[in-house]
């Protein structure tokens, strides 16, 4: 009995020593999770558009959604709202900050979809359906003269849109695209 106790103490001591000397990498407390369980959070969209969700919408549909959910801050037809204009300035980028709009400055159409779905409308982000986000994105591209009002945006047609300022950036980081 006495011997058993001693051995227990030695074993306990050994475990404590091990815990103290084991390298940090030995700590593994993350739980496995499937990509499908992550899906509700996996909302970032790259220029290749591969993560774009199903759904579709055109500027015709987007105009009504815009008027209802967006125009109070961004103005009628995306002009002169309290949160600034989203149109204009194409070809006049260097003539002042107000000319750096979605149409004149943003290099990728996928970023518009990503940002509207992630953060807008400001008071209730995430409240638009994916098809509504496609439609609002189509509307914003339309008022900037980039697509026609009938152009239907979906996972295939959105990433192939070439934004006016697509070639307007130089990367300070070596491995970025460009």
């Amino acid at each position: 009995m006495c011997m058993y106790d001693n051995r227990t103490h030695i074993l306990t001591g050994l475990l404590i020593v091990l815990a103290l000397v084991l390298p940090a990498e030995a700590q593994q407390l993350g739980d496995p999770i499937s990509e499908s369980d992550i899906a509700p959070w996996d909302i970032s969209i790259s220029p290749d558009g591969r993560s774009l969700p199903p759904g579709m919408g055109s500027a015709l549909e987007g105009a009504a959604i815009y008027a209802d959910k967006c125009s109070a801050c961004h103005g009628d037809a995306a002009k002169n709202g309290p949160a600034g204009s989203l149109v204009g300035g194409i070809g006049q980028l260097t003539q002042g900050q107000q000319n750096r709009t979605l149409g004149s400055y943003w290099p990728y159409s996928t970023t518009v979809f990503d940002y509207v779905r992630r953060a807008m409308p400001y008071q209730s982000p995430g409240s638009l359906s994916d098809s509504e986000v496609y439609a609002v994105t189509a509307y914003l591209l339309h008022v900037n003269g980039i697509v026609s009002k009938h152009y239907v945006l979906d996972a295939d047609s959105l990433p192939i849109i070439r934004m006016p300022n697509r070639d307007g950036f130089i990367s300070d980081w070596p491995s970025a695209r460009q």
């Binding site: 990509e35 130089i170 300070d172």
Partner: protein
């Protein structure tokens, strides 16, 4: 007659405009106090015993607060849109001119939010690593707190800091309002690299997308090589206590030396990617538009910078005689190597004394003695870091950029001192 105790002579000058060298100060250290503070007459009243010395004071408290007499030391708050439109998308500034030392108190550390401050219950917060990894993982905060942690001091500076000085006319604002989108703190947390190792990153993984749990789901792309360097922390503690809600509670990234916006707050997700995601805040924002119409992108590292905080706009008028000029300096590239001060608008410069520990990518204090003769002067500070980078004058900084370019403004701050001692922001 050579220099007297109260008025240094020409041989004591370190540079024009009355900047004094250290030798004179050492020689006269006991007398090196502002002239206005030297009292030669006896006080007319006997000392009185104040009430706080005559009865027991307040009892101890569970969480200490600053003295009520310091209630003016606050963060100036600035919304970016008219009230009612995007409230919670704004900034508050660290009141640099009201602080000393290098550590920013947690309650005065600048804020930048894109959709307000989320009230996160750490018991319900989850953090995932996924994408180009063998083992997508989800972590609870309580488990993350069990990992080995490291502690380091680093500044976090908004890439838009000092934006008022990009305007055509100099704005009359305090040092904090001009340059206070920066705070310096001791951060404690888990190196991101340890958690990436646990997830087994694929060889194709070269960028990370970091995302917050706020309503804006603020997101930025970060080259994975930065995380492998080991400096990138998932911080849980700031200056010894758990992060404040406005600083990312319960967890945030801290990337020393890089644009503050890459230190994503309320961190909920890291996705390992083969390329950058080109999120809104690395395309539409945080890009530096040049005169030629091209914009620089992924300009992560913040430049070498400094500002004089005493004297500065809004502070007490400068008095004639001897006084200390002081301020803060920092660089995203490394340590501060030297800070020079000019009192004659940049015609001559003298080395300031650097105080305390000089840590890489952290705030450093500087000070220099100045004997003001009452004539209009212009005070400037110019920092150099240990890579040899020197803080530029404003016109040189602006030279490559289009009008209205506001990011990464690290130009020299100039404070004009008028004949009556009033301090104003001036462009030189």
């Amino acid at each position: 007659m050579s220099s007297s105790c109260f008025s240094p002579g020409t041989e004591d000058r370190a540079a024009g405009g009355g900047l004094i060298n250290r030798r004179w100060l050492l020689k006269n250290s006991l007398l090196a106090v502002p002239v206005g503070m030297v009292t030669t007459q006896a006080s007319s009243d006997p000392l009185r015993v104040p009430e706080w010395s005559s009865a027991p004071g307040l009892i101890q408290s569970q969480y200490g607060q600053p003295s009520p007499f310091e209630s003016h030391v606050t963060r100036p708050v600035l919304g970016l849109f008219p009230e009612g439109f995007g409230d919670g998308s704004g900034v508050s500034f660290t009141p640099l001119e009201k602080l000393a030392g290098t550590i920013t108190p947690n309650g005065l550390f600048f804020e930048r939010h894109h959709s307000g401050i989320p009230e996160i219950d750490p018991g319900s917060h989850e953090f995932v690593i996924h994408g180009l990894v063998e083992r997508p993982l989800v972590f609870s905060v309580s488990n993350l707190l069990k990992y080995p942690m490291v502690t380091r001091t680093a500044f976090v500076e908004c890439a838009r800091n000092s934006f008022f000085n990009s305007l055509q006319e100099p704005q009359q604002r305090s040092a904090g309002e001009l340059h206070g989108l920066i705070g310096n703190a001791e951060w404690t947390g888990v190196p991101l690299a340890a958690l990436l190792e646990e997830a087994h990153v694929d060889l194709a993984g070269s960028w990370l997308l970091a995302e917050g749990a706020d309503a804006a789901k603020y997101s930025r792309s970060i080259p994975i090589s930065k995380a492998w360097e080991g400096e990138v922390l998932i911080a849980f503690y700031q200056n010894g206590e758990r992060l404040r809600p406005e600083q990312g509670y319960p967890m945030r990234l801290v990337i020393p030396g890089w644009q503050g916006s890459t230190s994503v707050k309320w961190l909920r997700r890291i996705k390992v990617m083969s390329d950058a995601t080109y999120a809104r805040d690395e395309t539409s924002k945080h890009t530096l538009l040049q005169k030629d119409g091209l914009a620089r992108q992924f300009t992560f590292e913040l430049g070498v910078k400094s500002t004089i905080t005493t004297p500065s706009f809004g502070g007490p008028p400068v008095r004639e005689g001897l006084q200390q000029v002081r301020g803060v300096a920092w660089s995203g590239a490394g340590k501060i190597a030297k800070v020079e001060v000019s009192a004659d608008g940049g015609r001559s410069w003298a080395d300031a004394v650097l105080h305390g520990a000089i840590l890489p990518k952290a705030m450093t204090r500087f000070a220099i003695a100045w004997h003001w003769d009452g004539s209009p002067s212009i005070l400037m500070s110019r920092a150099t870091d240990d890579t040899g980078a020197v803080q530029p004058i404003r016109t040189d900084w602006y030279e490559p950029f289009a009008a209205g370019q506001i990011y990464h403004l690290n130009a020299i701050q100039s404070w004009g001192v008028s004949q009556d001692g009033e301090v104003s922001n001036v462009y030189v």
